[in-house]
Symmetry: C2
Subunit: 189 residues, 2 copies
Amino acid sequence: MKYCSECGKAVEHKIPEGDDRLRHICTRCNIIHYHNPRVIVGCLISQGEQVLLCRRAIEPRKNYWTIPAGFLENGETMLHGALRESQEEACAEVDNESLYRLFDIPYINQVYVFYRGELRGNHYGIGPESLEVKLFDEKDIPWSELAFPVVTDLLTEYFQDRKSGNFPVRVEQPGPLWAEHTGWSNKPR
Amino acid sequence: MKYCSECGKAVEHKIPEGDDRLRHICTRCNIIHYHNPRVIVGCLISQGEQVLLCRRAIEPRKNYWTIPAGFLENGETMLHGALRESQEEACAEVDNESLYRLFDIPYINQVYVFYRGELRGNHYGIGPESLEVKLFDEKDIPWSELAFPVVTDLLTEYFQDRKSGNFPVRVEQPGPLWAEHTGWSNKPR
């Protein structure tokens, strides 16, 4: 941020009185502009033993596989956002949805909130942000071609949870499983 | 938003190509400025049968009671944010913390993520944003003087859950319990 979004004058980067961290403050109207983490919502959609994945048509991580997910929009609940993304990216409707997994990624200022649910009917398709949408058995998951660490962790834990039939809601930071599958390393800054 | 925060030129409000909702777009540099819901994190702190509440020293809802909570900051996990707020508002350290309750408030573009935990030692105090910080038994909770619907719902469900000793993680929209306690009505727009 270089300019005040309210009056167009330059902002400066300083700690407001009574605060303890740097904020962007307008040099004319004195408005403090706060910047906060964004929420990404998504849905792990299953049909029987299979899960629905999308191959991304857009950057970042074009050509890699993910679950339907995207930024939570103003005016919608997290579930509505997850269902909207399922519809947009995989043309899929979801039944029996429930909250499943939260991830913190503090070094990119993101919070992930994933639901799980069942594919309604056998209907799905290729949304404009996908190149391919496909149901996978566990043994066929393209582990080395998953788009993001959170997807790797989510799927790994989902298949573990499925053995017990118990799907506890948890919050975590992604990483170790992703690194194991891809050799990739990116520790929190 | 009236001006581009990157170049200072006026923005216009229109639907970008390939999108389906109005965004602020710069008339000079064409940057699309997205606005997304904010995350509020907090912690329901117990000691034995009692819970720790803070009477707010600041608006909104000055003088009303709440749990330690505030906006998630860039660079921190949700738990870190909840613990930071506990320290800032109630000078309290927390043990055995766990994820507890999520709330959607889509009509004000907010997501709440609450943890629960136990007060470390018997140490707490009055942070700069609090007028008073106090441990309450269930029968003494000031139900008609709680600051926000999410606090009413959270506390009500917490005391219900405590009877069974089972504290499932759930996501909800607040409202009905708050209306019951206060007579207040504000349906999602």
